[in-house]
Symmetry: C2
Subunit: 204 residues, 2 copies
DNA sequence: TTTTATTAAACAAACGGTTGGTAGGTAATA
DNA sequence: TATTACCTACCAACCGTTTGTTTAATAAAA
């Protein structure tokens, strides 16, 4: 026999939709990392008790995997897609991408999530790395597409890789040193360099 | 009766000196992160049992702190010091710094340790952040000193910050994507840019 | 009635940390 | 030289807690 004393909210509440479940879990993983987050933390962030998490997910591991996949897909659809928007000239697409990147990194604090989790778990949970790699490959790919307007294939790839590395480096320094200037400077520099490449292309 | 207060010369010979103790612990923290490492792991890496660790350190936390401090001091003394070596011309100092950085990042895999641990623990263990910040401030400071030969004070600082951010970004991308090209390209670019700045300084 | 959502409770394993005790050494003294 | 006092290094065993996970019960919704 089980007694439910002092438990007024035992009734089955309307189902929590997966999206908010993942969103709440993401914010915990963001601030505590993977190993630093307990299933208890995840449940609490969703107003549940530990056991209830297993109604929705097989394991902590699979929950994290789903968070990573959802987040990556969100970026592909909502951010990286801008690169292929034929309505805008290439430079404007890059500018919009840069604006979104700044928002993401400074407010959502989510841009370094992939780096963070990747570094923390690459030796202990290599299954996360595949999604993380896809995220960066997609990001680099979308940038390469923009640089193809002003550079050859190989150079465009290298430039795209360089920009992603610089942005990530800036964000990390920004977070660790508490200096907000890094990212702004990097993104304006990237934009200026693109303008220069456009000029060079017109008058070689 | 004889008192043995500060008389380290009569100590029984330790099987493990603190240096190797810290070194072995570092390699565990490097591959498993902070939260992912247990005191058991640390003991095992030193051929000890868990309890024995507490003969040397107060806690897992203080062990990590000592690892961070020792590593930072090693860099200050053995790497960053190159910046101030008046025997060499500035460009050569930067080149030596770059060579060392490449070794550190690719072989010792230790250059991203500060980033790694910083990101993982900044919300849960803010006491580590102070040492990590010092590491980067020292690194940036040593680079700024080199850039002061070709740039003004403010610009030299910004350039130094940028180079560190770029290197860290490159290393992280290198690790996550398994591409070894990133770092090499970044360091040669940094060196070339320095050469350009030197030319600009001579003929303005 | 069946299904779904949630819970409390229990689980073994692992966690960080503590303790008592032993082995083996040094150094002063007898 | 032998004895004694004292020290370090280390381990085994244990502490209380927390981990991720499972299960049986329960209540609301369909």
């Amino acid at each position: 026999m089980v007694l439910y004393l002092n438990t007024p909210h035992i009734m089955a509440k309307p189902k929590l939709d997966r999206k908010t479940l993942l969103k709440n879990s993401l914010s915990v993983f963001k601030s505590r990392g993977y190993h630093g987050t307990s299933v208890n933390d995840l449940a609490a962030a969703n107003g549940l008790l530990k056991g209830s998490i297993y109604h929705y997910f097989d394991s902590k591991k699979s929950l994290m995997l789903e968070v990573l996949i959802a987040l990556k897909e969100h970026y592909v659809a909502k951010v990286f897609a801008k690169s292929y928007d034929e309505q805008l000239p290439p430079y404007e697409r890059l500018r919009e991408l840069a604006v979104r990147a700044e928002e993401i990194f400074t407010f959502e604090e989510t841009g370094d999530f992939f780096v963070n989790i990747g570094l923390e778990t690459m030796n202990t949970n290599p299954e996360f790395l595949a999604v993380i790699k896809e995220f960066f490959r997609d990001w680099i790919g979308s940038l390469q597409d923009l640089y193809l307007h002003v550079l050859g294939r190989e150079e465009a790839l290298m430039q795209a890789e360089r920009v992603v590395a610089e942005l990530e480096g800036s964000v990390i320094m920004m977070k660790l040193l508490g200096d907000v200037g890094y990212l702004k400077r990097t993104s304006t520099r990237v934009l200026n360099e693109y303008k220069e490449l456009e000029k060079l292309k017109l008058k070689p």
